[in-house]
């Protein structure tokens, strides 16, 4: 992860709004991040924090209406993906940017065999003929660790277990040697022992293929094990962003700190009582004019209710969107 390397993907000020019957929902607010070649960026947040919508917005995967990507830029391959024609976008999706979805049960087509589904991107994006594609599909299945790959190509999704289906999904996403792989909660639907298999596979593949990965999850344990950098989202915004060790040892946003305290560990001391973040996540009815976390925050003060904090640069690639400086224990001046 060389610092200063040109990012493969650079997202600036992304804004996505949903039009609903009861008004607008500001699901993604001013989200900016970049992804360097070969690194794994973890995106953490609870449901409704905007992490999936952010990634779907990048690739124009949200149906419009109701979704409306209002602003910002997504630079990939010297093009702004928010302003290219459908043809170009289609070539990027599943080609240079692979996507693994959360639920391996519903994201594979039940009426086509697995071979067909892996060969589809190969034939569409890489212009392979049937024979070449079949050979490559077999290679891919072997790569993701499915035994007896040649025979399995003819099998249908229902003949695979959950973990195996997720491996097939990963094989499809990897088919065209993507520069970027976006994995949206790829292990959430799986059991822990199967999750451990997939995480191990992912580590192996990254060393082998050297692609950049965005890994979305709500599980801080998973992030701790695989990410290089982490972005924490809350209420449709990035509240903290840091190298993985810094985030866990020196969290600077009150939400991150609280989140780390609420999860019980299976090793170490057992707390007599779990720490609780009181209250509920915000409903994103209006464009935010205040900090979305202020009602649940233990260090909030009057400024938090009148202004939305920007992301303060804290050095060493660490930033946090909070008016309160946890290092000095006082409000920031700027």
């Amino acid at each position: 992860m060389p610092d200063g390397a040109l990012p493969v993907l650079d997202v600036q000020n992304l804004k996505t709004v949903f039009q609903t019957r009861s008004g607008e929902v500001h699901a993604v607010n001013d989200v900016s991040f970049s992804l360097r070649p070969g690194e794994l960026l973890g995106v953490v947040g609870e449901s409704g924090s905007g992490k999936s919508v952010t990634m779907m917005s990048l690739l124009g995967l949200l149906p419009s209406p109701p979704a409306d990507v209002r602003g910002g830029s997504v630079m990939f391959d010297n093009k702004d993906l928010l302003h290219v024609d459908a043809e170009t976008l289609r070539a990027v999706r599943g080609g240079k940017i692979g996507f693994v979805f959360q639920d391996p049960m519903t994201s594979l087509n039940p009426v086509f065999n697995v071979g067909m589904q892996i060969m589809e991107p190969l034939r569409k994006h890489m212009g392979m003929n049937k024979k070449q594609a079949a050979a490559r599909a077999q290679e891919l299945l072997e790569l993701v660790g499915i035994p007896d790959a040649k025979r399995r190509l003819a099998d249908y999704p229902h003949q695979f277990s959950g973990g195996m289906r997720q491996r097939v999904m990963i094989a499809i996403a990897l088919a065209c040697d993507p520069q970027v792989l976006i994995a949206d909660e790829p292990t959430t639907a799986l059991d822990v022992t199967i999750q451990a298999q997939i995480l191990e596979l992912m580590k192996e593949l990254r060393t082998k293929l050297g692609m950049a990965v965005i890994w979305i999850t709500h599980d801080l344990g998973v992030i701790a094990g695989i990410a290089d950098r982490v972005m924490v989202m809350y209420g449709g915004q990035v509240v903290e962003h840091a190298p993985v060790h810094d985030l866990f040892t020196d969290p600077q946003h009150p939400y991150t700190r609280a989140l780390l305290k609420t999860i019980p560990s299976i090793t170490g001391a057992r707390a007599a009582r779990l720490t609780v973040i009181e209250g509920q996540p915000p409903i994103l009815k209006d464009a935010p004019a205040a900090c979305p976390f202020r009602n649940r925050c233990d260090v909030a003060f009057d400024r938090c209710a009148t202004e939305n904090p920007p992301r303060y640069d804290l050095g060493a690639g660490h930033d946090a969107a909070c008016f309160f400086d946890a290092r000095t224990g006082a409000p920031r001046n700027a």
Binding site: V192, A196, H218, A224, H245, S265, I266, E278, P281
Partner: protein, 335 residues
């Protein structure tokens, strides 16, 4: 656990729940899914027994079978001194107030056409002779107990968030002053920051009302927090049962070891340093379990005997039960 002689409130012996598989034109019975296949355990008064395992291992079926939400295949279930293993539905009905359930999905387990008040009041309508005013007062008390605002009594479930809905489900389960509550993955559908709220609530209520829980979950770190003792299920059988600290500090069964090592630790240096046991393959089908030990197809410590003989589930150390050939001869020497 501080009690010198805790006595069991619930005793389950050799519980089996097999579901038939029908196939062909005549829907002939061609086999059975052995969802729960000979499970025995006690739940002591006032304790929380955690029941963990991966999806499909039979933990939810086990919880539902214990409350006789199914007609069980065989086995004995003693709850509060009464065997309900072969009670009829009518007999069970009189027994229901002592045993209640909190379901996994608070969205699906609350009737969207009933107000919160009606939902919590329903068990009172069925099982008590209280007047309307008394019932309404009781509903108010229950809403206070689970941390819901009384003023929301006339609202419908969809007006509440996931965590609040789970509180409604808990209030309903508490309405008849039960002794025993089966919590079937009560926090699985909730966000991390809301999970802690519900778990703390369950602990408070246990203190307040002297409840006994069977807490079913796949979340091993949460079970470590809430349970007094923990039972680990694999493919329809309990492979290990032990006091919480002992189980997490020194798991005996190879499956428990693998399961615990697979839990991702929220600490980057630990997560990267720890030696993971990665199990190969998937869980076999409960319709066609392997010969011998159920875990022999994936066990890193498998021996020849495991493929032919099923290990006996027994106490290998005081308070620690396991079913594994590794501990077969150590019964008298260990502990």
């Amino acid at each position: 656990m501080l009690d010198s002689s805790p006595k069991p409130l619930v005793s389950v012996r050799d519980l089996k729940m097999h579901f038939p598989i029908h196939a062909g034109l005549l829907r002939r019975r061609v086999g059975e899914v052995k969802a729960v296949d000979g499970v025995s355990f006690d739940v002591m008064e006032g304790e929380t027994l955690g029941l963990v395992g991966e999806s499909g291992c039979g933990k939810s079926t086990c919880g539902r079978a214990v409350l006789r939400l199914y007609d069980i295949t065989s086995g004995a279930i003693m709850i509060d001194g009464e065997d309900i293993g072969d009670s009829t539905q009518a007999q069970l009905r009189t027994k229901r107030p002592t045993m209640q359930m909190v379901f996994q999905d608070p969205q699906a387990s609350l009737n969207p056409r009933m107000t919160v008040e009606a939902i919590i009041k329903e068990p009172l309508d069925e099982h008590t002779k209280l007047t309307e005013a008394e019932k309404r007062e009781k509903v108010g008390e229950l809403m206070d107990a689970v941390g819901l605002n009384r003023q929301f009594a006339k609202r419908y479930p969809q007006a509440f968030s996931g965590g609040q809905r789970q509180r409604i489900g808990i209030a309903r389960a508490l309405a008849l002053n039960p002794k025993f509550i089966v919590c079937d993955e009560p926090i699985a559908a909730l966000d991390v920051s809301i999970q802690a709220q519900v778990v703390n609530l369950l602990e408070d209520l246990q203190q307040q009302f002297g409840l006994t829980y069977l807490f079913i979950s796949h979340d091993l770190s949460m079970v470590r927090h809430i349970a007094t003792r923990v039972a680990v299920m694999y493919l329809g059988k309990i492979v290990e049962l032990a006091p919480r600290e002992a189980l997490y500090a020194e798991p005996l069964h190879p499956y428990t070891k693998a399961l615990l090592s697979a839990v991702p630790e929220p600490d980057p240096s630990l997560a990267r340093a720890s030696e993971r046991i990665i199990l190969q393959g998937d869980v076999p089908s409960p319709a066609n379990p392997p010969q011998g030990c159920n875990f022999c197809t994936r066990c890193p410590a498998v021996m020849d005997i495991c493929k032919t003989t099923e290990p006996e589930y027994k106490e290998v150390r005081p308070g620690r039960f396991t079913a594994c050939h590794l501990y077969e001869n150590k019964t008298n020497t260990a502990g």
